[in-house]
Symmetry: C2
Subunit: 316 residues, 2 copies
Amino acid sequence: MALSIADVKDAHGRIKPYIHCTPILHSSQLNTLLDCELLFKADNMQKVGAFKARGACNAVFSMEQDSLHRGVVTHSSGNHGAALAWAAAMRNTPCTVVMPNNAPQAKKDAVISYGATVVYCEPTMTAREGTVASLMQQSGASLVHPYDDDRIIAGQGTAALETLSQIEQPIDILMVPVGGGGLLGGSALVVKQSSGGNSTQVIGAEPEMANDAWQGYKSGVRVAKFVPNTIADGLRGTLGVRNFEIITEHVDDIFLTSEARIVEAMKLIWTRLKVVVEPSAAVPLAAIMDQPELFKGKRIAIILSGGNLDLDALPW
Amino acid sequence: MALSIADVKDAHGRIKPYIHCTPILHSSQLNTLLDCELLFKADNMQKVGAFKARGACNAVFSMEQDSLHRGVVTHSSGNHGAALAWAAAMRNTPCTVVMPNNAPQAKKDAVISYGATVVYCEPTMTAREGTVASLMQQSGASLVHPYDDDRIIAGQGTAALETLSQIEQPIDILMVPVGGGGLLGGSALVVKQSSGGNSTQVIGAEPEMANDAWQGYKSGVRVAKFVPNTIADGLRGTLGVRNFEIITEHVDDIFLTSEARIVEAMKLIWTRLKVVVEPSAAVPLAAIMDQPELFKGKRIAIILSGGNLDLDALPW
């Protein structure tokens, strides 16, 4: 049966005791600057510093005890790996994370700090998936895919579910970054299947340098092989099969933005909202800054996806 | 009549429509690391990025219309200046801010962006006060002192008032940075005059390189002339007369900490809480990190005083 908002609500009930209900932030100065009303869901302040805690927690707490014994495995550029390690530790299950060798040091350290085993590979989807497959064969561990998994999509959707319950008036647009499509897919399900959801647009924002979701969305054919090269390290995954289906059906548009604009938006968020966000989290604001005339006067919620990065290697 | 918690409550009623009720943040990892329970009142997310919005707003909204016409003047290493400029703009009153020439660029820019006039001086209290006195003589403007002013102390105390109302269980310690003593004085009044307040300690934290409050507190004689030299630019003021009285009466202790520890604590706050704080805001955590055995098992609230700094000149 197709995934729906009911699954997101189930996920929320399951994970609520373990995650933070993160605050909604805003800045009058930012609103004045961009001539719209921006509401930021601060999931950079989520457990493990990213919305990924939601999906990983839902997946691990959905598993039966005998699967848990054999452990879990995944591939991740960082935040999903840390999230799975964190969730697995709560259920005492062994966790192995395959990471691209170019992942930020802070993200490698986080995965290790939560007690998981890290295995490095080349930064391509083929290398990631091949390494995971051989690890599964060796250990019998279950895959918890970073995004192409119904439990993950439902879990990530809880960020949008919370956002809608936290804000008082309806929004015109919900804008989220898109990498593998877990957050965008889950968010789109929630918004479009909520009452009055058709009056809210769901828009993905993606770096030009990792535009596989945009290509697939515009052409109708999912891009399966793609080598991204963007500072937004959380968005280097390639859109998943389930994610592509949901996004094609429910998402209103995907916008692209440049590397320079992502850094500019990131610095603006740090300066105005006083929160630490990683480059991926700044992609929606960057897309708005590219074409402010399209967003003029709108009430827009943005999910700040994460806040994990090397403070010793900032892009300015 | 001596300032009391009633004045802080009046101030809160006056300024509430204009300020944010900032969130309380915590990090399980930080609690584990330091073996205590830390609750951070995020006033770095306050209007103008610092608790100083509270006092300045209270002062300006306490003024009569005919004083407002002649304008307001102050001296400030930054945040109070921005706060007064912001509050003055809401009441259409002219504002002049005397700033030490070594104030961070971000703070100078902020004051100007809120529409105030900036006059630079040497970074000593004598230079600051002399420049303000001559400006007052020229224009007839009223002084809104950054801390040695009952309206300011009452306004700053609203951060502690909110904190106590936001947290569910009593705390063992409230810890705040001390520069001129507005925040520490106001916080001490609130805690000690609340029901059950005697079971909560109020502790100030100050840089070793700006230890005038500590010297005065320990010796019983206020240090009137002092040239501080600390990265914590918000704490470069010298403890005020009214502030000294309140602190001597109500504060339980003042702890000192080093410059290196302040930077370490600041980075830890950015990394774990995902918020941008300026060095001054990290001083209480730095003092705890110096002597964790003193704080073991305690429930401690810390006011994160501000988040304004040059992102292009970080101390690491």
